[in-house]
Symmetry: C2
Subunit: 409 residues, 2 copies
């Protein structure tokens, strides 16, 4: 794999992209709207929630991705999800796109929309119009502007999620960047809550979509905070071609290089979303290896990160490994219990917990020490084959209850 | 439906059944082993966890149910689950059955075993032998003996779950009773954690199994505390025929009457397990009606009671109804969002929350009052057909975290 250079940057890192954040009025005293804008038209790819109940902005964006494959702006509000809002919700999407398009001097079909927040309430258009009037003049290609935009899309997130990488494609420097948000109702099955990616690479719409769909599978689709798949999950990727590389139009070396960079950024954002899951004190990574098929490994890894009992054990730094085997057992995937081995890893060390399906008689004090880190990995080996999968979740703590028992108040 | 008389009683209520509880040594200062014994051989039925990873006692019992369809005793320990224990775990089952059989002067193949507690540890046989030496002399057919047995199988349960009903079958008074335990790792898919039912009805093994399998579907299989399906789920039903009714050997009136009584007892125990779910402050009942198929209603109801975000909203008395629609949306069942109506009910009143998929603009203060009861019902109408389903869950509170973050310590 060619060298990727991780850089300190957000969605404005690729050439030609500007961003801004503003307090439009959904929330008091904190930014609640963000805008991303490209100086030239972009090729577009997107993946969306597979929840049967789709928010209005998901329906709006999906039509643009499928019909036009091109866009120039993404406008996002945090505060109201615009889900379960009927025809009125769709009208508000159209009016939002029109308001942004007018101010940016582009067409409304070039404006994508993201919404996150409470389900079931209508979005007040006066707040959206106020947001547009603040966001458009504030557009900038600086590092700070990307940071502002990443902050404005947060809800219960405690940290901004941004990532950027540079690499060389056909002799040209290409940059790929993204921002995303969690941190509850996170259990994506096409893509996660909200993730917006920008790149100055030149690449055909078809391959852009292919690369995104592939990368989402191993990144956003492998995380879970609470098992609740949102109505609003959206991942959008805009490529404006300003890097000047020869357009990627086939699945050759350039495509693979681009896809690897996209995979890097997607996994970085996904992992950070899991680590900043609502109330999370620790990232919980589960690697299933020695599997006979990729699907078997994926199913088992996802079942383990989704278990409330495993998540509370991690919160308690308790090597209650039977809960992990139990979650594997009800996952629906088959495996031979008597061949399974399990070990825990963290910055504090590594310990073998089970072999051939039974306990190793491990040192409890050492296990607790290893599980007391803020990033914990469970390595499960099925000893059946050579396939593997990695999933990311988090512990389940009191803070999750605090956040969600009175989310709307 | 014929009249059933609910009676104050447990597993000793039917003729010929004795029970006892004792502190064998798994836990300090509280009973941890229970015994149920019939003075004559019983017809036997059982349903078990569909978790791929099955505890040793599940394998032991399943063989007896499938091979012999007869038994006389059930011995239970709370403290160690005897799951993920390999061949050693199976040996301990056999030795446990032998020890009990010797003391009861029956064959080891007539002894069923239930275990609940930590997964991954071996059961010390000396504690079991101590338990048997205490339990057998203490056997009694009194109300108190049933109460002792129901208390000895509890782990994180806060109340005993017992139910008993009498009815007339062919001119004879028949009694059916049961006890069960939760209250974590509860998300049954054949049957739930541990439930033991006794009856003095005379019924063929085939119809006993058929009645149990049918009733489990609408009762134990419709509850969830935390989405984690246990390795130990076991429901056993012993019928000793001492009521003197003509043996039920076909699906006539008598069978239907018996099955209705069994359904009543099963739902009562299941509902109480949900209400006493780990950390639960409220029972959360979800009725899906107006469905086009039973399976659609079941899938939707189970998805809603399983949602962490719905459960925390209930804990917060927050009418965050979008989370319910969201959980329906990712359930895998199809429905028309624009036709859904939702209302909440409790002893404090009733309120319409959504109609045709959008908010009714309900009174938040009234909704909060209704959701502040300890038994809450959500009625979801799909307006598609006439099928329905009811599922039972509970809220997700701080106490769940307290209980499970340091379960083993």
């Amino acid at each position: 794999m060619a060298a990727f250079e991780s850089i300190d940057g957000g969605v404005t890192a690729p050439k030609g992209f500007q961003a801004s954040g503003a307090c439009a009025g959904f929330r008091k005293g904190r930014d609640d709207m963000a805008l991303i804008f490209s100086s030239v038209p972009c090729t577009l790819a997107g993946t969306f929630t597979s929840n049967l109940v789709k928010a209005a902005p998901v329906l709006w964006d999906r039509e643009i991705v499928q019909k036009y494959r091109e866009a120039r702006a993404i406008i996002v509000n945090s505060g109201v999800a615009n889900a379960c809002t009927g025809e009125e919700g769709m009208r508000i999407c159209e009016e939002t796109a029109e308001a942004a398009a007018d101010a940016l001097n582009i067409r409304k079909e070039e404006v994508l929309i993201g919404s996150t927040g409470v389900i079931g309430n209508q979005i007040p258009m006066d707040i959206i119009r106020n947001g547009v009037s603040l966001l458009v003049p504030a557009l900038s290609d600086t590092r700070e502007a990307a940071y502002d935009a990443a902050g404005a899309i947060m809800t219960t997130d405690t940290v901004r999620k941004e990532a950027a990488v540079s690499f060389t494609l056909g002799g040209k420097k290409v940059t790929l960047a993204g921002m995303s948000k969690g941190s509850g109702m996170i259990h994506p099955n096409m893509c996660t809550m909200l993730a917006f990616l920008t790149t100055d690479a030149a690449i055909s719409a078809e391959l852009l979509q292919k690369a995104l769909s592939e990368c989402v599978e191993d990144s956003f689709n492998m995380i879970s905070v609470d098992g609740d798949m949102s109505t609003n999950d959206t991942c959008l990727l805009m490529a404006n071609g300003l890097a000047g590389n020869r357009e990627i139009t086939e699945e050759g070396e350039d495509y693979i290089l681009f896809r690897n960079a996209l995979s890097l950024i997607s996994k970085c954002l996904a992992r950070n979303m899991a680590k900043d899951g609502e109330g999370a004190a620790a990232l919980f990574e589960v690697k299933v290896q020695g599997a006979s098929s990729r699907q078997q490994a994926v199913t088992l890894a996802k079942s383990v990160i989704g278990s409330s009992l495993v998540k509370t054990a991690i919160a308690g730094h308790d090597a209650n490994w039977g809960r992990i085997i139990c979650a594997m057992g009800y996952s629906g995937a088959s495996f031979d219990e008597s061949r399974v081995s399990l070990r825990f890893q963290s910055k504090n060390g590594e310990i073998a917990i089970a072999e051939n399906g039974v306990t190793t008689g491990f040192d409890e004090a050492l296990a607790t020490k290893i599980l007391s880190d803020d990033e914990i990995t469970a390595v499960i080996d099925l000893h059946e084959g050579s396939e593997s999968a990695v999933a990311w979740g988090c512990d389940l703590t009191h803070e999750y209850i605090n956040i969600n028992a009175d989310y709307r108040s």
